[in-house]
Amino acid sequence: MENKIDQVQEVKYTTKDFSSGLDVKWCPGCGDYSILAQVQKTSPDFGEKKENIVWISGIGCSSRFPYYMNTYGFHTIHGRAAAIATGVKLANPKLQVWVATGDGDMMSIGGNHFIHACRKNINLKIVMFNNRIYGLTKGQYSPTSEKGKMTKSSPYGTVDWPFNPIKVATGSGASFVARSLDRDPKHLQDMISRASKHKGLAFIEVYQNCPIFNDGAFFPLTEKETKPDNVIFLEHGKPLVFGANKEKGIKLDGLNPVIIDLNDGVHSINDCWIHDEFDENPTRVFLLARFTDLPGFPTPIGVFRQFNKETYDIDYVKQIEDVKAKKGEGTYEKLMFKSGTWEVN
């Protein structure tokens, strides 16, 4: 791991090196194609040798992802990707372990593994494709489907409240939390690239269009005409502003976010909330995450938070090294004969 810089210099990959060459079998127009393309584009810049990158997935459309990457890959079972990835990472901490998953796989059946991987800050990079629908099983509502959504399994509309994955990740202690859009390739590349550099659990929620079962779910956020008014890009140290001409801003009134008009002669850019992604206090992250619940508020895209805290895998290795330094390397003699024995002649 100390040789990382050398590795960057010696390994020169291209996007093509990360394609397994297998026919990609997502539906035409699926947002997954874009996510795959952006990952393949950014992978050469991870600074990792190809053989040290592992993609783990669960079950669902998104989870076919590893088959298309020319790295080590494991398409596992529904919901268990984070747990299996944890085993891979602890077995060999030198590997860079990525998880490709969906909203059903990670927020529903795999919810427990997700929150505990976040809590333990295991050095995994989780890319969750959120299309707010079960695609592979052909159109039932998911834990991120909006309340009242009519689907095949909710013909009269759902009565469930959805999960907000940013809140779940933040509440569980994830040390890097971001959101991006399948239809914003540059931004998505940036998020993936930044996640790859983060030391600790990185979570990226990608809003992804399912053209078959939930077409257009994110169009207000992704299409040119509506995007400026519906999306606010989070940038560290920059004020929260949005709109076609950056004419609107967000001000914090105590713990209440308020939309302000920067051209009304009363407010100015100096009134705006300045985004601090390194703030370890999660209060403001929750306020940001809540924008999607507030009518008229733009959806934040970008890095909500990132901070450094000890990772499980590094601490574990350190503990083993400390005990070895204190007790010496274990041997069979020590294991079996050290104490409590007696001899029969």
Binding site: E51, Y67, Y72, T76, R80, G87, I320, T341
Partner: protein, 613 residues
């Protein structure tokens, strides 16, 4: 007054009291000392599922039984010769198990109206003559303990807690054992609490001296060292032995050991034990649930570790789907199931053998795994090594069955030299030339190509794979071929395991077939019925899937086959199915091991109830 010493062959002692009375500790101290005296021994605890049931109640009684001998023994004994009862409830629960003329040492101070009532005694059994067929030794244990500690500043409660060591001291005197081993243990245990150390040491001594001085005892007993095979020994419980076995397999294979596990009775001690071995590089991941336990282990297996998950029946149910993934991806994985009474939460602290069919078949699809079963606490060590060997050699999940009786029971393990253990030879694939993830060797084993190896980047997963190449395949014929490969690979394991050796004649009237923890009881029962002139043979199965190659042939040579097991006939079902051989069942579902006498009775019955004559 000099007291006479009488030499006896073997003794069974049961310590019983409230679950807070320290009976497990008292028993294990007596065991450690006795082991070092060179006796053969076998122990079994019996404790309630509740950590602290109401004091004095019948449900709160905790027991520890120890059988030690000057000859080779296999079980903790059917009927105790000595019962140490710390209160009326302990007496009530245990008196029915005692041998005729057994000695009962009771703490008379605990026999007050309140405790008698809690134990549901209408009258005081120490006074009403109901114990007349036993040798009752009433001792004021609490009072004697308190007076020995009078001048210490400990609280009354703390002082009273020492009374188990008074009883221990007395037992040491009665059975002619030194107190120094326990003294030393106390010194290390309470090195930072000098007053507690002083109190316990003083009480231990006082108990010992009480035996010497009081006139109640005229005789002490001695059990000479057993003639065991030469070697260095240590006493192990089944769970401890399993943990040592897996660390040994890690050393033998040169692979890092990874355990993914979630605490569950009666398997948690394996997790606890292994978490101590950081100096061996062991990684113990205490997972968020049972599924994560096995899933993380599968991840670790993919990445090249010796991967292990440990659990009990309920956990094995939760792991079923992931074990199927292990079968499909053909990764080496060891799953330990320390069985307990089921179904559902069942009897968590009690023993049973009722997960055999779950281990064999408890997965969707055709998902064969190797199934092994340890036969004694010490055998858990050898079977742990064996489970690892098979998993790694054949790239296959292996389920090792233990149970509560083995997990908590203990016996001496003759420690083998490392070279005496089977070799565990692991070869990672490194050559990209001609590599395909599902190509196979002569044993149908696919290559283990771990992440980090240049040029071997590949993808595996739970979807059916194309034979040899490993790409996703939904082809009809391919699925059939792969299903057979997975089955045949497990069957090929039979070529690397020992054939059965029949104990007794190789043909005849009756063959007893057993598996798992019933081994010791059956061996003892056979000794007895053979003395009566019954000609009974026996084979014991440590390998259940696949069976040893010669099992069918052996079964064919006997008129009758008797299968005792602690379930409703799960091995019986497998034997009938595989060999078309009818078997006589002997089943017990009481959360307790068979008694030797129960096996003897059934054998006698099979022979026509008249000793076969």
């Amino acid at each position: 007054m000099a007291k006479k010493v009488q030499v006896v062959d073997d003794v069974t002692i049961r310590f019983a009291g409230d679950s807070g009375d320290g009976m497990q500790l008292t028993g294990s101290q007596f065991t450690d000392t006795t082991a070092k005296m060179g006796n053969d021994l076998s122990t079994v605890p019996d404790f309630p599922a509740e950590i602290r049931a109401p004091a004095g109640s019948l449900s709160g009684v905790s027991g520890y039984q120890l059988h030690f001998s000057s000859s080779d023994i296999q079980t903790p004994g059917d009927s105790p010769d000595v019962l140490v009862a710390m209160n009326p409830a302990a007496l009530k629960v245990n008196v029915k198990d005692l041998a005729q003329n057994a000695t009962i040492i009771v703490n008379t101070n605990a026999f007050d109206i309140k405790n008698l009532k809690l134990a549901k005694y209408d009258s005081n059994p120490l006074e009403d003559g109901s114990l007349s067929k036993f040798n009752v030794i009433p001792i004021e244990l609490t009072k004697l303990t308190m007076s020995a500690l009078e001048d210490l500043s400990l609280s009354i409660k703390e002082k009273e807690k020492c009374k188990n060591f008074y009883a221990l001291g007395l037992l040491y005197w009665m059975y002619n054992r030194p107190i120094e081993i326990t003294q030393k243990w106390l010194e290390s245990k309470f090195s930072k609490k000098p007053e507690v150390l002083e109190a316990n040491q003083r009480v231990l001594n006082a108990g010992y001296n009480y035996g010497e001085i009081t006139e109640i005892f005229t005789t002490r007993y001695d059990v000479k060292p057993a003639k065991l095979p030469k070697g260095i020994y240590r006493n192990v419980s089944g769970n401890e032995a399993a943990a040592l076995g897996f660390v040994t397999a890690s050393l033998r294979s040169g692979l890092k050991l990874f355990l993914g596990s979630y605490p569950i009775t009666p398997a948690s001690e394996i997790l606890q034990e292994l978490s101590k071995y950081k100096d061996y590089g062991v990684v113990t991941f205490q997972a968020e649930d049972e599924i994560s336990g096995v899933a993380s282990a599968i991840g670790a297996a993919f990445a090249g570790n010796l991967a292990l998950t440990t659990t009990s029946g309920p956990g094995l149910s939760l792991k079923a789907e992931a074990i199927g993934l292990g079968v499909m991806t053909e990764l080496p994985l060891v799953i330990v199931d320390v069985q307990r009474g089921g179904p559902s939460t069942g009897l968590p602290t009690k023993t049973e053998q009722s997960d055999l069919l779950q281990a064999m078949y408890g997965r969707h699809g055709e998902a064969p795994v190797v199934v092994l079963a340890a036969q004694s606490p010490a055998d858990c060590f050898f079977m742990a090594v064996e489970a690892a060997r098979i998993a790694l050699k054949f790239m296959v999940p292996v389920i090792l069955l233990s149970d509560g009786y083995l997990a908590f029971g203990s016996e001496p393990l003759r420690i083998p030299k490392l070279e005496e253990l089977p070799e565990i030879d692991v070869k990672f694939r490194t050559d990209p030339e001609g590599f395909h993830p599902y190509m196979r060797d002569e044993n149908l084993v696919r290559p283990w190509a771990i992440p980090g190896t240049p040029g071997l980047e590949h993808r595996i997963g739970g979807l059916e794979k194309k034979d040899v190449y490993g790409n996703i395949s939904y082809e009809a014929e391919n699925h059939e071929i792969m299903t057979h490969h997975r089955q045949n690979k497990v069957e090929k394991v039979a070529g690397t395991i020992p054939e059965l050796v029949v104990d007794g004649d190789s043909e005849g009237e009756l063959l007893v077939v057993s598996w798992g923890s019933t081994y010791g009881v059956i061996k003892e029962a056979l000794k007895n019925v053979r003395k009566e002139g019954l000609n009974v043979s026996h084979v014991h199965l440590r390998y259940i899937n696949p069976f040893p190659k010669n099992l069918g042939e052996i079964l064919g040579k006997f008129k009758k086959v008797l299968v005792p097991e602690m379930n409703l006939g799960q091995l019986s079902l497998l034997l009938r199915n595989k060999f078309m051989k009818d078997v006589i069942q002997l089943n017990k579902m009481q959360g307790q091991a068979f008694k030797i006498s129960e096996i003897e009775k059934k054998i006698t019955e099979v022979f026509g109830g008249n000793n076969g004559k």
